[in-house]
Amino acid sequence: MMGNLSDKEKEEVSNVINGDQPTINDNMFFKNIAHEVSGDIKALVSLAFEFRKDLQSKVNDDLNDIATEYIPQATDQLEGILYATENAANKIMDNLEDLEKNISDVKNIVASFKNGKIVILGRRKKIGQKSIEKLMPVIENVESLLEYNLTLISDSFVQMSFQDLTGQRIKRIIEVVIQMEEKIKNMAISFGIKIREKEKNPEISAEELERVVERKKTELSGPQGKGIGLDQNAIDELLANL
């Protein structure tokens, strides 16, 4: 990297290394480092946005509408997926419980039939023993199928655990993404503001620069999405400044 520096820049770097020139105003060394680091930050911010866009393109239309209108954060979209899978799991379990009840009703009908009693259109009828004996193979087959269906329902309930297991993992990912997004956002904002303010006012002091950063950060976090995060324009502007 030193090979790319002009004589003046080399002198400045040397001064900084020797502790002769610690001011921010004319310090090319810090500027070069800032450019290097800002490239990485830009890549990280882009990654975070690509992740959000990717999520939006992969979830269904309803979820996508909810996500783009109400929950622009990637973390909130993950929570939306959790919510959707929980609703779906509950609906499936409602159906399974209905099936269980239906099977139980059919089992009662079969048991009654075996005892020679059957209700047809609300009227009780008796069945002769010979008819029952003739139909016994069919009855046993029906009973066997009912038991098998109960086993399938029971297994389906167990499989519903996926919602809990994947949900726990998604929750952990959400925690990590929240932390990463917050850190990346803060870094991007600080660097973006610093570089822009330095360009506007090359003579600005380090202390004043910090004050501007704090003020602008407050301004940026205020107006978007009912106080939740930065909107796309603000981030695009920051990215353009990096």
């Binding site: 379990m93 419980e97 167990v158 655990s161 809990d164």
Partner: protein, 125 residues
Amino acid sequence: MDVNMKVLIVDDFATMRRIVKNILRQLGFTNIIEADDGKAALYILKNEKIDLILSDWNMPEMPGIELLKAVRSDDELKDTPFLMVTAEAEKENIIEAVKLGVSNYIVKPFTAETMGEKLEKMFGK
């Protein structure tokens, strides 16, 4: 094993509580109540006689392991059978739970058969 015993299911996921409840019903249990975290469970335990606790490990307010500690350190609750039902299958977690006095440990997902075996070990047939 007395299927009339009162069972408390503790899990922050409503879906999982429902699954466990269904499995218990398949085993013949009908007296089942629920709590969505350790704190809510402790409140129930202080106010009702519970014969068996089935608790998840990972819960936001009060994790299952903290609930276990609280139960085992309470003179009135310390003998309540406590079955940890969790996705945490790490050896360290199991050892920690055993040291704290867990009655048994069951890893999700599990079948009614597995649950039945665990309960039989705890209560006998």
